[in-house]
């Protein structure tokens, strides 16, 4: 017996919307599985930072007692939320790189000519990419646990919504950037101008009070950087706390970036239609 469904203006019911979302997530996961080197590099990058960089900095950089930590913590413990956010930052950018690649290769066209609303297609792609980033984060957290970085057990659960939000924020930023990039070759420049400044000018590697002591200008940049708030949201959530300011900033920036990306990919208003098409 068939279950009656509410049918929308586009002729699709909720089940069809779910099928579409599942299909997009499935393809994202397939691509990730097929690109094993992408998974390995996604994991190796933060582990190199953890095993080498953090081990070296442990002796130089003292981290005093700052929330959410109740005691002095090792530098490896401090830097872990920053490295988690780095995984999501790279994943967001890599996902947008794949959108530029898809657009150049034409795969993106098949997504965009689906009869589902474009905002839904792009949001589904964003969700799918966020799920992939969360899987990477948990793989990293497992290895970090073996290395002796042990947040509270419930922290592994309470960090999940924070990861979903920060993954969405960084993924939507990548999506917005991908709409403005015409060719794959141009993406390297954007990576340099986005990933590295965002990562280094944040609280990922050093507490902001330490930055403020050495340079008020850099501190202001860090304070304005939305990546800082993604890091802090994850840091607090990992210790079963909510940093309200970080939560607010991440939610607002996710909304802004996602709306921007949807507008940019909208055929009526976006950047895509204003640029030249090729062919006959």
């Amino acid at each position: 017996m068939s279950v009656p469904q509410a049918i929308g203006r586009d002729g699709f019911g909720p089940l069809q919307y779910l099928i579409c979302l599942r299909g997009i997530a499935w393809r994202e996961a397939l691509r990730f599985v097929h690109q094993r080197e992408r998974f390995i590099s996604a994991l190796v990058r933060p582990l190199v930072w953890l095993f080498i960089f953090a081990a070296g900095f442990r002796q130089i950089l003292g981290v005093s007692i700052i929330p959410p930590y109740q005691t002095y913590v090792l530098y490896e413990v401090y830097v872990t939320p920053g490295l988690i956010a780095m995984i999501q930052l790279f994943n967001g950018m890599q996902s947008s790189l794949s959108m530029v690649y898809d657009r150049e290769m034409g795969n993106m066209r098949m997504l965009l000519v689906s009869p589902f609303p474009r905002w839904y297609l792009l949001t589904s792609k964003l969700l799918a990419s966020t799920v992939v980033s969360i899987l990477q984060v948990y793989a990293y957290l497992f290895i970090a646990w073996l290395w002796g970085i042990e947040p509270p057990l419930w922290g592994y659960v309470s960090v999940l919504p924070a990861l979903a939000l920060s993954g969405m924020m960084l993924g939507s930023l990548g999506m917005l950037l991908s709409s403005a990039i015409r060719q794959l070759e141009n993406f390297a420049g954007v990576m340099n101008f986005v990933i590295f400044p965002m990562f280094f000018a944040s609280s990922a590697l050093y507490p902001l009070w330490l930055v403020q002591q050495s340079s008020p200008v850099v501190y202001t940049i860090c304070w304005l950087n939305p990546f800082t708030y993604a890091v802090e949201l994850i840091r607090f959530a990992l210790y079963i706390e909510i940093d309200r300011l970080s939560l607010a900033v991440v939610v607002v920036m996710t909304t802004v970036f996602t709306t921007g990306a949807i507008i940019a990919y909208d055929p009526a208003r976006g950047l895509i239609a204003r640029r030249g098409g090729g062919g006959g």
Partner: protein, 264 residues
Amino acid sequence: MSATADLAQRSALDAGLRIDALAVHNVSHAYGPRQALRDVSLRVPQSRFTALLGLNGAGKTTLFSLITRLYDTRHGSIEVLGHPVSREPGQALRLLGVVFQARTLDLDISVMENLLYHAALHGIGSREARQRARAGLAEIELLDRARDAVRNLSGGQMRRVEIARALLHRPRVLVLDEPTVGLDVASRSTILRHVRWLVRERGVAVLWATHLLDEVADEDAVVVLHRGQVLAAGDVSEVVASVGAADMRSAFIALTGTASEGSE
């Protein structure tokens, strides 16, 4: 059934058949200062093969981007079986199957996975999608390649998979942008034969963009697009007669002042 109800059903059917599969009304499009299309109007009747004939740079790909709503139609309107693409994109796009000039298959995943992904983008559940995909692949004689990665297929096979994919959601209109470009003669002929079979046996309306004159048959409808403008449209015999030419090749030369290619 009463005679009145029967009459009403017949007239509804007639009215349905009178609606063009695809109608483009006075469409213009520019990229900044460059005008790609100027006041283009054309119609693709239901269950017919319509060739959109034009040289490279004529505006065919831009027109396809507008038909498929990759770009928004700012001037003029486009309807798929009476559904305006701008105002009812969902309804219009679900009736439309598309094969773009550039390859749009994901090379890293298998043929079947590509088809299932497309089915999901049209809200078709996996069991139904699998059945349709198998049937579609059997039709193009590639069922035995279902599990192969797409990158291992030849150019002609990829095109056939793209056509099977475009038909997976059972569209009533199929638009193909230069689908035979870069293919050998045998592959071109196979693809063209298959698409003509779809028109004849399935009643699919086809808009086939090409710059190759030998892909246009005498029984086709044809639209000649040149430098963003429609120079002639109608049945091949009408277009040929309208310029007093002996055949379509001469008609094309007379209309555009340039020769298209017979074959690659």
